[in-house]
């Protein structure tokens, strides 16, 4: 009986995800990256990893986050190295105005949020952004002064947030599914795994690429999981097979 109920619930979830795609990539039309040509400065990634308590509270876990940060940095290095590009972490202390770097990081957050809400995912999209081959977003050329002084020609922004459902949360989820099967809508999500990665051309400030994923996999606390996560974050990263002039939003 239980298995049948769970199977039934599983079907409705599958239908739901087919209707509402969870991941999207955007590329600036005409942009292509020759492998081996990029010197990428990695702005301090926003990484938070923790547990989701039974009651839905996010409990940050310092060890997991620190591990994830290390693994993601290593995986990024490996992946870009394979493409022949160089990745350097942004030195927050080095010369100039550390405050402006934070302002840009916050602004990038607003930019990424806007891309996701007003272009990528249905619900509140803007007409001018819904067109094929349209992907026109920028932070302005002045960004070069803040991130370009070590010779980098691109800046990579990464954000990933993971809440692993605790055992209590997973039990609650199962109980919720059972209740749902009896006709009482009780949706209990377990786990939150979303993130985005974006590449900015420092010469122009243009957002040349953004990949957003609202439901990622892989356990970022392990090397394999972090490697997989980086793979997902960088899915569609321009360069391996040049996408050509089309650009726009895919998947």
């Amino acid at each position: 009986m239980l298995r049948k109920l769970v199977a039934v619930a599983g079907v409705s979830l599958a239908l739901a995800s087919a209707v509402f795609a969870q991941e999207k990539t955007g590329t600036r039309p005409g942009f292509s990256l020759e492998a081996g040509s990029a010197i990428i400065v990695l702005v301090r990634p926003e990484i938070s990893v923790g547990e989701q308590s039974t009651g839905g509270l996010f409990e940050p876990n310092a060890d997991w986050t620190a591990q994830a940060r290390e693994q993601i940095a290593a995986a990024l290095q490996a992946r870009q190295g394979a493409l022949g590009n160089t990745v350097q972490p942004h030195d927050e202390g080095a010369g100039g105005d550390a405050g402006v770097a934070v302002q840009y990081a916050r602004l990038f957050g607003s930019l990424a949020q806007s891309v996701m809400e007003y272009q990528f995912f249905p619900g509140n999209r803007l007409s001018t952004k819904k067109r094929r081959n349209s992907f026109d977003w920028s932070l302005g050329a002045d960004i070069k002064k803040t991130f370009g002084n070590t010779g980098a020609n691109y800046a990579l922004f990464v954000y990933t947030h993971d809440e692993y459902g605790s055992a209590g949360r997973k039990m609650l989820q199962a109980a919720g599914l059972i209740a749902s099967a009896f006709g009482v809508p009780v949706g209990v999500t377990s786990g939150v795994h979303h993130g985005y990665a974006g590449l900015v051309d420092l010469a122009t400030g243009d957002l040349v690429w953004l990949n957003a994923d609202l439901a990622m996999g892989g356990d970022v606390r392990t090397p394999e999981g972090a490697s997989r996560r980086v793979q997902q974050l960088l899915e569609g990263f321009p360069g391996r097979s040049a996408p050509g002039a089309a650009g726009g939003v895919g998947r």
């Binding site: 619930a9 409705s12 602004l107 619900g123």
Partner: protein
Amino acid sequence: MKFRSALLLFAVTAAPALANSLIPAQPVAGIARSSFAARPEGEWNRLSMRPGKRVETWTLDGPLLNSVRFFGGVLPGEPLLREADKKRAPLPKVQADMLITDVPALLENTYRAQQSVSRMEIEAQEPVRIGGAAAVRFAYRFVRHETDVERRGEAVGAIKGGKLYLVTFEAPALHFFEKDLPKFRQLVATLTF
């Protein structure tokens, strides 16, 4: 129940009740359901969400990055934006005898009464004529508490027939304000009300 809920999802995504709409590059009238009219030279987007009864919002890249708001004919006794709690958290109201100098103050006091901004400063204020009427153009900057991003604004406002007409443009101080200001000024140059 399971299939019903799936269908509901289809309904929501396929035919949203209130969608954002396109403002093409051509004359547009009846902005904010008022006598506001303009002739945009480029395209804009109109947001379906209204923060007030007489407000219409246009944007290019989304309101976090650029936002033009038309306040169309606000009457004496009415606030600029919707009040969360009329009794305990009232917003300042348009007053019948307000002077042109009270227009920028009304905007600032509205934001401050909402407790949503700090460091707001009205900078230059100048007399201009909009659509043949005496108006004020003013520049300002502020920080929104929730995002901690510094924003700049430019606006024009006038009192006509006892009602307040105001158009504001706001964007992050970093890059976006300067980028989109010319487009806002172009709108204002063609504005009538």
